[in-house]
Symmetry: C2
Subunit: 461 residues, 2 copies
Amino acid sequence: MSSSAPQHPRPADGHRLWSVDEHLADVLGAVRPLEPIELQLLDAQGCVLVEDVTVPVALPPFDNSSMDGYAVRTADVQGASEEFPAVLTVVGDVAAGSGELPTVGPGEAARIMTGAPLPPGAEAVVPVEWTDGGTGGGAAAGMTPASAAPEQSGGEVRVHRAAEARAHVRARGSDVQAGDLALAAGTVLGPPQIALLAAIGRGTVRVRPRPRVVVLSTGSELVQPGEPLAAGTIYDSNSFALAAAARDAGAIAYRVGAVADDADTLRSTIEDQLIRADLLVTTGGVSVGAYDVVKEALSSIGSAGSTGPGDGDGDADVEVDATRIDFRKLAMQPGKPQGFGTIGPDHTPLLALPGNPVSSYVSFELFVRPAIRTLMGLPESEVRRPSVRAVLKADKALGSPAGRRQFLRGAYDAESGTVSPVGGSGSHLIAALAHADSLMVVPEDVTSVEPGTELEVVLLG
Amino acid sequence: MSSSAPQHPRPADGHRLWSVDEHLADVLGAVRPLEPIELQLLDAQGCVLVEDVTVPVALPPFDNSSMDGYAVRTADVQGASEEFPAVLTVVGDVAAGSGELPTVGPGEAARIMTGAPLPPGAEAVVPVEWTDGGTGGGAAAGMTPASAAPEQSGGEVRVHRAAEARAHVRARGSDVQAGDLALAAGTVLGPPQIALLAAIGRGTVRVRPRPRVVVLSTGSELVQPGEPLAAGTIYDSNSFALAAAARDAGAIAYRVGAVADDADTLRSTIEDQLIRADLLVTTGGVSVGAYDVVKEALSSIGSAGSTGPGDGDGDADVEVDATRIDFRKLAMQPGKPQGFGTIGPDHTPLLALPGNPVSSYVSFELFVRPAIRTLMGLPESEVRRPSVRAVLKADKALGSPAGRRQFLRGAYDAESGTVSPVGGSGSHLIAALAHADSLMVVPEDVTSVEPGTELEVVLLG
């Protein structure tokens, strides 16, 4: 019957059902994190660091002012008050970025800006609000822009309060010291991590890149959305849904249009796409029908499509002699027929999902998303969707087939810790999926779930 | 002192402190969702739908098979068993996408694939596993690919089990009916919603686009990461961190390199960028210093930079006569000095954040992120970061300044419902921020938080 399908790795057991966990373990066991590359900082957003990054230069790199004010010697302002201010000679401005610094001698002050280096001689900063701002008037609210009042970088300033040594001074290295570990290998780079890397001067960083995922749907019945439907045809939704889901998982997704049910066309399309794929995902054509073209094409691709390495004809043939796609049945609903293996000279992983839109989407969540996140090198805890326990809230019991793990569309309410079914159990209820936020999991040995029962719920999005 | 700054909207109250909530309300009150545009489906991922989308054609669009098997008349298979099979003449194949369908007469069957239209005359589908698959042997496990065994679309099939009317038939419209509401205006388009839109044939969809956010940092002390540091300089981290954070919030971010503290340069840079900005974010130069160039430049841009609409000189001058940026002090730490207003002929919103990396990041989270998400048209509940209540776990009490809402970096543990401080309270602790996952909020009227106290915690990322 299925003589053209590749041999099951355990031939004696060729028709057994695989459990969801076995299939996932098989997939994740074969998928390795991508080789790291050096990326510009912003290109590395969302990626996983593969090196321990140490701090090359202390932060802040020099003692600097935490306020806009005046850099002073503490002895000069000792006992100062509004009534009896300390009157100091302003020897110049120290703006952020100043290279040459004035020296602050006894009886002198330098006007200093937030972030500017503490000039030699100065021991503390008094905020401008503690002074007359050089105006000879009362307490200042701020400084006039230097461009409008250049004379205020000289003259005199009256200081109304004393300052202790190091007051309003951020010490060199008070954030991080040179040699400290800034970020450990394995860190996921979000905005605050990018902030730290930039702050310590890293313009590029070594990370695992985003996986490039090629998504193609198969089926002669598939029509591109926006085009008219002929008799017997439906719209292709899988390639759109899974490309979106792949991006959502962190991948760079390439959507290939629907491919008709012809093994040669499919084979050459896949061979073409291999060059830009770290992972291939197909939908449809994996069941027991006479036109299940994915099964047909990937069963023969190794023998028919290639003459092995170094055939020397110089054309664009892709070597696909390393194809090993295993088609199997899973003890789950929806999503019973699945294919998984590697293809082509680089042993690119390929997941062949069923064609029904809900089946393919659920399969993506359960198997493809973890594969993508494993390629990214994400930590174990971030590979799979989080799941919670919730109490079923429903009018009647949910039926579920014996021996199959069922995934039903649910609406989870965190407040009450409950989950309610959305739509029925038919695997074609794409409308219900669009209104669900979770998948309710009914274990293999359960055939009926009464309202009030606690269930595992996989949270989507 | 601050005579060159624009007038506060409530001049009599010019030096008062704004609360965090007042400032946020002011920002969100001035920001309007972007005008919707029609986008290709995959370009609309993450965007908000602005139209109610109704179903133009029922799903599935025709009665179709849910199994690979044989389309039969129920009377023909009544009482069939493995011992006494019904023997039917196979009149042809019905593959998915078949336009012309064979008619199934009495004593006849059509081989049918999952998703293929139920042919005229047939009333039910029997799965291939309930038959001999046309081989004359025992129960079939599946079909042989049609390309390998074309003769199996003819001949005879033995059916081993009876089928009720409509068995394994998915009825036209059983998922959605034409005219049903598929998705309501306001829906955020994730992968399952994109799946539904594609399934009902929508190639494009009307949504609010992602906001284009221009991020620029200011400061003559700023050096691009990767370049050598001269005396008194530090690395620019804000433009990287906030560009990443803007993308994280859903925006398209344009990072402009650091701009030196020169009002003319800053002004012309901002004028240049207006063309591609739905929102401008600057960092630095908003305090009371003599080189606080953002304040200086944006206070004068309206009068100096423009001659009003239609000056007719034909050059690339941007009309910036509509600039109204208000600089104010907030009752918060970090992040006291802030600017907000609109700029240029399109009244583009501009948020001027303080220059300290942690201050600018916290300010972004509190004010810019909600502004971006308001521009996107996201529902109220998704505009702000979620927050939870958690119990402080610390060695000693946390100090906080009176009259200021303090935001401290925290590590939240959902399991135990606790939050622990990460690093100290210094606003320059960028290293601590990179290891925090949340912000602990200490209210204005609290100056000390004992361990064991319950706090509001804003969850980041």
